[in-house]
C-alpha cells in the first residue's frame, strides 16, 4: 500500500507544474480568463518582442554537408557571425549556416580565438550585397546575478528547418572563472554563469538580455553525475571579452590570449584575506623591464581590483596578447602605476586539441580529402601560419588603409623629406632638422637635435647604432619607417605587413601634469604590424577616424639582451594639412622605456616627389 502512495504523491507534485506550464503557454488559454496584472502581460509582450527581434539572426552552425553541429549569431549585415571555436573545429574552415528563415548558407571561418573558445564566421548571402539580419552587442559588465536572460540556438540539432530554440532563465553569477579544458585551450574567464538551459548543440549560440542585446556566447557547462546535458549550470563567454578580440577575429587572426610574464598568487592561501603578490617574473617579460618586482602586491589590473586568484585570472584572461594594460601595485606602502605589455599565452600553435568539457556533439571523424568550399567560399579562404584565414586580414588591411588614405595620399611624394622645427627635452632644447631620403634603394636619415647624427638603416645593422640617438630607442630608424610607411604602404614591408587586430594606445598629454590614471589615456586603435629589414613596427590607427595616432619601432624585437627589446614610441599630435589634402602631425612626442625622450614641434615639412 505504501508503495502505491508514493507514486501518486509524485504525480500530485508533477501535475501542478504541468498545469503551470500549460497555463503559461499562449496556445492553451484557460476556459475562464484569469485576472492577470497588466504589468505581467506587458512583460510577456516585451519578452515575445525581444525574441521576435533577435530570432532571425540566430544561426544553426552546421557541418559542410548541412548536418547540425552548433549554434551562432549574426552581428552585422554583412553576415559576420560569432560561434564557438570548438564548433568550427568540428566543421572545418567551410561550415554551413542555417537561419530561422529555413535557408542554409555557405560560410567560411574568419578569425578564431582558441583559448577563449570563440570563432567568427562569415555567411555568404544568396544575392550579392543582400543584408543579413543581425543583433546588437550589449554591455556584459552591466549584467548581474539574478538578471533574466534568453539563450537561443539549436540544441540536440533539433530543428531541421533551423528555427532556433529559446530557453529562458536567470544569470546565476558573473565574473566566473572556469579553467582550461585540455592543453591550455578553452579557458572561460570572466564568463557569465546561467541556469538558462543550454545543451549539446547550443554551443556558440547567443545569450541575450531581455532587451535582445547580445551579452554572451554560450559554450559550456558543469557536468558530473547527471551526465552531459543541462545540469543547471551553464557558461557563456562575455561579449565584452569578445569585443577585445573582435579586431583580431575580423582580421582572420589565430588570436592568442595574454599572460603577464609573471606568476601572481595569493600571499598565503590560509590568510584571512587574500593578497595577490608577484611570485616570479620572467626576465624576458615586459613587466620585468617596466619595473615589476617579486613581492609586489598587485592591487589592480587594467583598472579592476585583484582580490583573489580567480579574479586575477578573470581579468588577465580577457585580453589578447601584446595589449598594454595599466597595473597598480603596492610596494613598501607606496602605490605605483605601471603600463605593461602583455605576453602571449600559447608557446606554440597546438595542433588540433580535443575539447574536454563543452556541450557539443562529438565531432565526426574527418572523412575523405580536406574540405573545400564552394565557388564563393573557396575564394574567401587563404591559409597562412598564425592566421586562421589570411583572406580576411587583407580585407581588413584594405578597409583600414582605405580609410587612412582620407588623411592624405603620400605615394606621390616618395622622395626626400625634410622636416624642420624645434625639439624640447628634459634638459635642453633647440632647432630640429630631420632629413629622410631613400633613393635607388640607398636610404639615409640625418637628424640634428643640437648635434647631428646619421643612420643608413639598411647598411648599419649594429643594434646600438640603430637605436641612436642615444636614449630614443631608435628615433632615426623610426622616422625612416614612418616615411616608408606613408609613401610605399604595404609594398615597402617585405618581412611582414598585416592587420594586427585592435589594441589600446596610450598617448600622453603633451603639457600639464601627468594623467591621474593611465587608463584615462586609452584610445582604442586598429593596428598594422610591419617588418622591413630586421625592424618591426606597429602602427596605431584610431578606431574613430583612422587617424594614425602613433607607432612603435622595435629595432631588435627578440634581442638576446632583453633590455634592447623596448621600442621607440612616437605619438602624433596636431595634424595639419601640408598641401594636397595631405595631413601630417606637427607635434610628436618620442618616448622610450616609460620616459619622454623629446617633444618635436614641426614648423615645416618639405616633401619631394
Amino acid at each position: 500500500m505504501t508503495r502505491l502512495l508514493r507514486p501518486s504523491r509524485l504525480l500530485a507534485a508533477a501535475v501542478p507544474a504541468l498545469a503551470l506550464a500549460a497555463a503559461l503557454s499562449p496556445l492553451s488559454a484557460p476556459a475562464a480568463p484569469l485576472p492577470v496584472d497588466k504589468a505581467v502581460l506587458d512583460a510577456q509582450a516585451a519578452r515575445i518582442e525581444a525574441i521576435k527581434k533577435v530570432h532571425p539572426a540566430v544561426v544553426a552552425v552546421c557541418m559542410p554537408d548541412g548536418t547540425g553541429c552548433g549554434s551562432g549569431v549574426l552581428i552585422d549585415a554583412e553576415g559576420y557571425a560569432l560561434t564557438n571555436f570548438h564548433v568550427v573545429q568540428a566543421t572545418g574552415p567551410f561550415p554551413t549556416a542555417g537561419l530561422a528563415n529555413g535557408v542554409l548558407y555557405s560560410a567560411v571561418v574568419c578569425g578564431i580565438d582558441k583559448v577563449g573558445d570563440v570563432a567568427l564566421i562569415k555567411l555568404v548571402p544568396k544575392e550579392k550585397g543582400k543584408p543579413f539580419p543581425f543583433v546588437q552587442l550589449g554591455d556584459s559588465d552591466k549584467v548581474k546575478a539574478g538578471d533574466w536572460s534568453l539563450a537561443m540556438g539549436n540544441p540536440f540539432s533539433l530543428a531541421m528547418d533551423f528555427t532556433p530554440t529559446v530557453t529562458y532563465g536567470i544569470v546565476s553569477g558573473v565574473n566566473r572563472y572556469q579553467p582550461p579544458e585540455g592543453k591550455g585551450l578553452l579557458e572561460y574567464t570572466d564568463c557569465i554563469q546561467i541556469e538558462t538551459s543550454i545543451n549539446p548543440g547550443n554551443s556558440g549560440g547567443p545569450l541575450f538580455n531581455m532587451r535582445g542585446e547580445l551579452i554572451g556566447i554560450n559554450g559550456r557547462g558543469s557536468f558530473e553525475k547527471r551526465g552531459r546535458v543541462n545540469s543547471g549550470v551553464g557558461y557563456a563567454i562575455s561579449i565584452n571579452q569578445i569585443k577585445n578580440f573582435m579586431g583580431h577575429l575580423r582580421a582572420g587572426i589565430d588570436a592568442d590570449h595574454a599572460t603577464l610574464g609573471a606568476s601572481v598568487g595569493s600571499l598565503s592561501e590560509d590568510a584571512p584575506l587574500q593578497q595577490m603578490v608577484v611570485k616570479q617574473l620572467l626576465d624576458e617579460s615586459d613587466a620585468f623591464r617596466r619595473g615589476l618586482q617579486e613581492g609586489d602586491q598587485l592591487l589592480e589590473f587594467a583598472g579592476r581590483a585583484t582580490t583573489s586568484t580567480n579574479q586575477y585570472k578573470n581579468i588577465l584572461g580577457i585580453f589578447p596578447k601584446d595589449w598594454r594594460v595599466p597595473l597598480t601595485i603596492r610596494r613598501k606602502n607606496a602605490r605605483q602605476e605601471l603600463l605593461v605589455r602583455l605576453m602571449g599565452n600559447q608557446a606554440a600553435v597546438v595542433e588540433r586539441p580535443m575539447p574536454g568539457g563543452p556541450p557539443m556533439p562529438p565531432a565526426p571523424a574527418p572523412k575523405g580529402p580536406a574540405p573545400k568550399g564552394d565557388g564563393e567560399t573557396a575564394k574567401m579562404y587563404e591559409g597562412r601560419k598564425g592566421y586562421s584565414n589570411w583572406y580576411f586580414n587583407v580585407l581588413e588591411q584594405n578597409k583600414l588603409l582605405g580609410a587612412f588614405k582620407k588623411h592624405g595620399d603620400f605615394s606621390a611624394v616618395a622622395g626626400r623629406w625634410v622636416i624642420e622645427g624645434k625639439f624640447e627635452m628634459a634638459d635642453r632644447n633647440g632647432p630640429m632638422k630631420v632629413e629622410i631620403a631613400e633613393v635607388d634603394g640607398a636610404a639615409k636619415v640625418t637628424m640634428r637635435l643640437n648635434i647631428e647624427t646619421t643612420l643608413e638603416p639598411l647598411k648599419q645593422t649594429d643594434v646600438a647604432v640603430q637605436q641612436e640617438p642615444i636614449g630614443s630607442g631608435g628615433l632615426m630608424m623610426a622616422m625612416y619607417h614612418y616615411h616608408r610607411f606613408l609613401t610605399r604602404g604595404a609594398k615597402g614591408f617585405e618581412g611582414l605587413f598585416a592587420h594586427g587586430g585592435h589594441e589600446p594606445f596610450y598617448p600622453y598629454p603633451l603639457d600639464g601634469p601627468g594623467p591621474k590614471s593611465l587608463a584615462e589615456l586609452r584610445a582604442d586603435c586598429a593596428v598594422i604590424a610591419t617588418k622591413h629589414g630586421s625592424v618591426n613596427c606597429k602602427w596605431y590607427f584610431s578606431l574613430k577616424d583612422a587617424t594614425l595616432l602613433g607607432f612603435e619601432t622595435y629595432v631588435d624585437k627578440d634581442a638576446k639582451d632583453t633590455e634592447n627589446r623596448d621600442p621607440c614610441e612616437v605619438y602624433f599630435h596636431d595634424y595639419k594639412d601640408v598641401g594636397g589634402g595631405r595631413k601630417l602631425p606637427h607635434k610628436m612626442e618620442v618616448r622610450f622605456r616609460d620616459k619622454r625622450y623629446a617633444v618635436l614641434t614641426v614648423t615645416k615639412y618639405a616633401t619631394e616627389k
Binding site: V15, L20, V36, D42, I170, E195, N230, G232, V233, N310
Partner: protein
C-alpha cells in the same frame, strides 16, 4: 485541487515576470540575492576523492557565526574552513550533527577565543525563528536557490543563483548509492536543478530572499531512480526510531525502540544552546562482519537481488534452515535491495556472535529466520563467482 495549487502559483509567476519590464536596476531578484549572499558561506572540509566533494555551502544563523549545513562527510575534519561573502577565510568547528535530520550546526572559530565564548563577530545572518514562523511555502511558489554549486565561487565570489518553483511539499524517499537515505522527513521538491556537487547546505529562499529551506545533497529518488532536487524546510519534521535502554519488569536493562519526532526548529533551538543530544544510533562496526555461510547467485548486476544459490553445510545459514532460491528481503528490518547491500550490512553492523533477523521470501510467503553469525572459517566457503566490473 489543481486549480487551488495553480492559481497562487500563477500570481507568483505574474509578480516575478513583471520585473524585467521595469529597469533591471530595480530587479528585486538581484537585490534579494545580493542581500542573501552575505548570509551564506562556502564550506571547505574533508573529501576530494571518490566523488566526495571537499566543498559545500552553509547558512549563517547568528551574528557570532553559527552556520547550518548538511551532516555530510565534509565535516569529518579538524580543519574545517569557511569563506565569508567578503572573502574572509575563517576556521570553523562542528558543534553538533543530526544525520537523521541531515543537518549540522557548525560555528566560526575566532583565533584566541574558545568556541563557546562571545567572539565579537557581527555577521549578517538569517533569523531562523522568523523563518520558521513564516510557515511553509506552497507548491507553485517561486524559489531562489543560492549555493556554491560545483565550487564555482571562492573567497569573495558570490554564490550561484537559480530560480524555480516548488513542485511539491512531501516526504523524502531517497537513496545514496545503495543506501537508503536516513532522512525520511519533509522536503520541498523544486523544479530547478539545485542539487549538484557543493550545493548541499545552500539556501532555498522565497522571492524576497527569505530563508525557507536548506538545499540537500545529491540523492536519487528510490522510486524513479532519478536525481532529486530537494531542500529540507526550516520547519521540517521527521519521525525516527530511537533505541533507548529501559528496565524491564525484572529490573534488567533492555534495549527498546521508540518513535521520536525530530524537528529542525527544535534542533536549531537546542543546538544553539549546546543542549542538543543526537539520536543514539547503532554503532557501525568495521571489518568483515560475522560469518553466515550464504552463497548468493552470481552478482552480475549493479543491483542483483539477494537470491540464495546455496548454503555452506554446517554454516549458520544452514542451521537456520535457509534454502536455495530464498530471496533475502530484510535484515534487522532494513530492506535489502541487492547482494551488495546485504554484504555491506553484514560488514558494517555485525561481528561473530551477532544475531541477525532475516526476512526471506520463499515462494509467495515471507519467512523470518534468525542467524547467529559465526567466525569465518579458516578456509573460505566455496568460491563465489567474482563480481563483475562496474560499467
Amino acid at each position: 485541487m489543481f486549480t487551488r495549487h495553480t492559481l497562487p502559483g500563477l500570481v507568483a509567476v505574474a509578480a516575478a515576470l513583471a520585473t524585467p519590464a521595469a529597469s533591471s536596476a530595480a530587479d528585486p531578484f538581484a537585490q534579494a540575492v545580493e542581500q542573501a549572499n552575505k548570509k551564506l558561506v562556502k564550506v571547505f572540509g574533508a573529501g576530494g576523492f571518490a566523488r566526495l566533494n571537499n566543498y559545500g555551502t552553509g547558512i549563517v544563523i547568528s551574528k557570532e557565526g553559527h552556520i547550518l549545513t548538511v551532516a555530510s562527510q565534509l565535516l569529518d575534519t579538524a580543519d574545517l574552513v569557511v569563506h565569508l561573502y567578503d572573502g574572509q577565510r575563517l576556521k570553523a568547528q562542528v558543534l553538533v550533527t543530526e544525520p537523521l535530520l541531515d543537518v549540522a550546526l557548525i560555528k566560526v572559530k575566532v583565533e584566541g577565543k574558545k568556541i563557546e565564548e562571545p567572539n565579537g563577530l557581527d555577521l549578517d545572518y538569517f533569523d531562523f525563528d522568523a523563518a520558521v514562523k513564516r510557515g511553509p511555502a506552497a507548491p507553485g511558489d517561486w524559489i531562489i536557490g543560492l549555493s556554491n554549486t560545483f565550487e564555482i565561487a571562492l573567497r569573495d565570489e558570490p554564490l550561484s543563483v537559480q530560480r524555480g518553483v516548488i513542485s511539491a511539499y512531501t516526504k523524502m524517499a531517497g537513496r545514496r548509492g545503495i543506501f537508503e537515505f536516513p532522512y525520511t522527513g519533509d522536503v520541498y521538491i523544486v523544479d530547478a536543478i539545485t542539487n549538484n556537487p557543493g550545493a548541499a547546505g545552500g539556501a532555498l529562499l522565497n522571492r524576497k530572499g527569505e530563508l525557507i529551506g536548506i538545499i540537500g545533497r545529491e540523492i536519487k529518488n528510490t522510486l524513479s531512480d532519478t536525481w532529486m532536487n530537494y531542500a529540507i524546510p526550516v520547519g521540517a519534521k521527521t519521525v525516527v526510531k530511537e533505541k533507548v535502554t529501559v528496565k524491564d519488569k525484572d529490573g534488567k536493562d533492555v534495549e527498546e525502540e521508540r518513535d521520536r519526532e525530530l524537528s529542525m526548529p527544535e534542533f536549531v533551538r537546542l543546538a544553539m544552546k549546546g543542549e542538543y543530544k543526537p539520536i543514539q544510533r547503532k554503532p557501525v562496526i568495521g571489518g568483515q562482519g560475522g560469518y553466515h555461510g550464504i552463497v548468493f547467485v552470481p552478482n552480475v548486476l549493479e543491483r542483483t537481488p539477494a537470491y540464495v544459490e546455496d548454503v555452506a553445510p554446517g554454516s549458520p545459514a544452514d542451521k537456520a534452515g535457509l534454502r536455495p532460491d530464498d530471496l533475502v528481503s530484510f535484515v534487522d528490518g532494513e530492506p535489502i535491495v541487492s547482494i551488495k547491500a546485504f554484504d555491506d550490512f553484514i560488514k558494517k553492523n555485525t561481528r561473530p556472535g551477532t544475531v541477525v533477523r532475516l526476512e526471506v521470501r520463499r515462494g509467495e510467503a515471507l519467512q523470518t529466520v534468525e542467524l547467529t553469525l559465526g567466525a569465518h572459517p579458516a578456509r573460505p566457503a566455496p568460491a563465489t563467482p567474482p563480481a563483475p566490473k562496474k560499467p
